[in-house]
Amino acid sequence: MISSILLKEWLKLKYLFAGVLVLNIGVCLKIYFDIRGLILSEHPEMIWYEAIHLHNVFFKDFMFFPLVTGLVLAAAQFVPEIIRRRMRISLHLPLHRDLLILLSVVTGLFFFMVAVGISVVLVYSTMRSWFPLEVSMTVLTTMGPWILAGILGYLGGMAVLLEPLKTRKVFLTIVFSVIISVMYMGVGYGWMSPAMPYLVWLVPLFLFCVFNSGQRFQQRGA
């Protein structure tokens, strides 16, 4: 049963996942060449000053890519389901609706973490090539809010796509957009680190929005 759901999700995701993976790796390569060019053209003191005192994040080009990845994966999984209301097929399967949605979310988030995780490793390796460990480690804390924005974008995308009522779609879009925009409010290395543990624990709550939209999708004519 679970393997059947995983098969279905993989078939929907595979091409767009490959696309976002290439896109993520592409931006990581751009970051590598940008930093390499900077190192070769500037004095080391100047680069140090830019990074530590001016909080210039050398990999900020990556900022919106987790969000794009989350939105693309949500669309890849759920646009085929809502076109001609095909999700009715899955909703009739002998499987609880919330478990069906949860398995879809887990699959989507797995592929999201693979794409974004590879990018984090590549950006960290780039930074580690020229910067000390302490500065390189801030890749994780700096990218944290962006990754969280990607997860929220994924869950928000699913909730909005499944929601049958237009007014609720607009409401959900506004709510998720506001929360996601919070993740991009600050600048600098690890600027949101103190709040991150609390924000991470809040993420499962947003899963209920998806369950709620799924329930409403089913009971309003699916």
């Binding site: 059947s4 098969l7 279905k8 078939l11 009739h92 002998p94």
Partner: protein, 292 residues
């Protein structure tokens, strides 16, 4: 035992009443056809029965459970054909079989492939690049391989040519012959249902009428006559439906020939050569429900 029980069902859509106090039952082992003109709520009723719509009022039980909260165990016993032969178009034939196999303990891959192989397509052929008829075969294969106790088919004939419709009927006949299997079907091709169902539900303006097929075809009658008179028959308690082609009139009634002749004379209609004609289910449907 009733497989479907509907009690005092009410449903409203955009302020319009679709049903009010609708009640009917479908006994186990019966083959029921739900007939109604377009827009009378046949698909809405199927959606309510399958839990895809919550009714405004009343109670719907399917295999003993409330239709809007069917458990996975009960859904496992229902084969559902969605309107338009819904299927996952990004899957191939083989992937479709693999996908469904995981959900049904009684899954019979031989039945699935015996139906699908009739098309002569390779198993790696994508469902999305099939014709409507070919896709209907895949969906039929999926439903039959589940070995369900109750089959609900929402307009199975939509988009199918005569060959595929006949193929569907053949499979449904074999299914119906099995012990205790129940079929609840809607179709806009009424004459196909004549070859399949034993019970008919007429859905009209929020009301439902149940009758046996043989009983209906025996009691509802089609009369044909010629007339040059300017007075056209009017529908009333005796005359249930009227059709006209030039000087030939067809009237439908539950009453005998003498009563109908008398009533037409009472209406001032000049009647020539009135006689009872053979009536198909489609004739009866038009006679009872009207053309539009």
């Amino acid at each position: 035992m009733n497989v479907i029980e509907v009690h005092n069902l009410s449903h409203h859509y955009n302020g319009k009443t679709v049903y009010q106090d609708l009640s009917f039952t479908v006994p186990q082992g019966s083959i029921c056809g739900l007939l109604g003109k377009n827009g009378q709520g046949k698909t809405t009723l199927v959606n309510i029965l399958m839990g895809f719509l919550k009714p405004s009022g009343g109670r719907c039980l399917v295999l003993g459970e409330s239709s809007h909260s069917l458990s996975p165990d009960v859904r496992k016993r229902i084969g559902l054909l969605h309107e338009g032969h819904q299927a996952y178009e990004f899957m191939t034939i083989a992937q479709t079989e693999k996908f469904y196999r995981g959900f049904y303990p009684d899954w019979n891959a031989d039945i699935f492939y015996s139906l699908v192989n009739k098309m002569g397509l390779p198993h790696r052929h994508k469902v999305g690049s099939m014709s409507c008829g070919q896709r209907s075969q895949v969906v039929l294969g999926v439903i039959m391989a589940q070995n369900p106790d109750l089959l609900i088919l929402d307009d199975y004939s939509m988009g199918l040519d005569a060959g595929y419709r006949r193929l569907f009927l053949d499979v449904l006949h074999d299914f119906a012959a099995m012990e205790g299997k129940t079929i609840f079907v809607t179709s806009h091709i009424v004459q196909d249902l004549e070859q399949l169902v034993d019970t008919i539900f007429f859905l009209d303006q929020g009301r439902i009428t149940r009758t046996g097929l043989t009983e209906f075809l025996g009691s509802f009658k089609k009369y044909v006559f010629h007339s040059n008179s300017q007075v056209v028959p009017i529908e009333d308690e005796i005359i249930k439906g009227v059709e006209r082609r030039r000087d030939q009139f067809t009237v439908y009634s539950y009453r005998d020939q003498d009563t109908v002749t008398e009533q037409l004379s009472r209406q001032g209609v000049e009647v020539r050569d009135l006689h009872r004609a053979d009536m198909t289910l489609e004739d009866g449907f038009i006679g009872l429900m009207g053309k539009y």
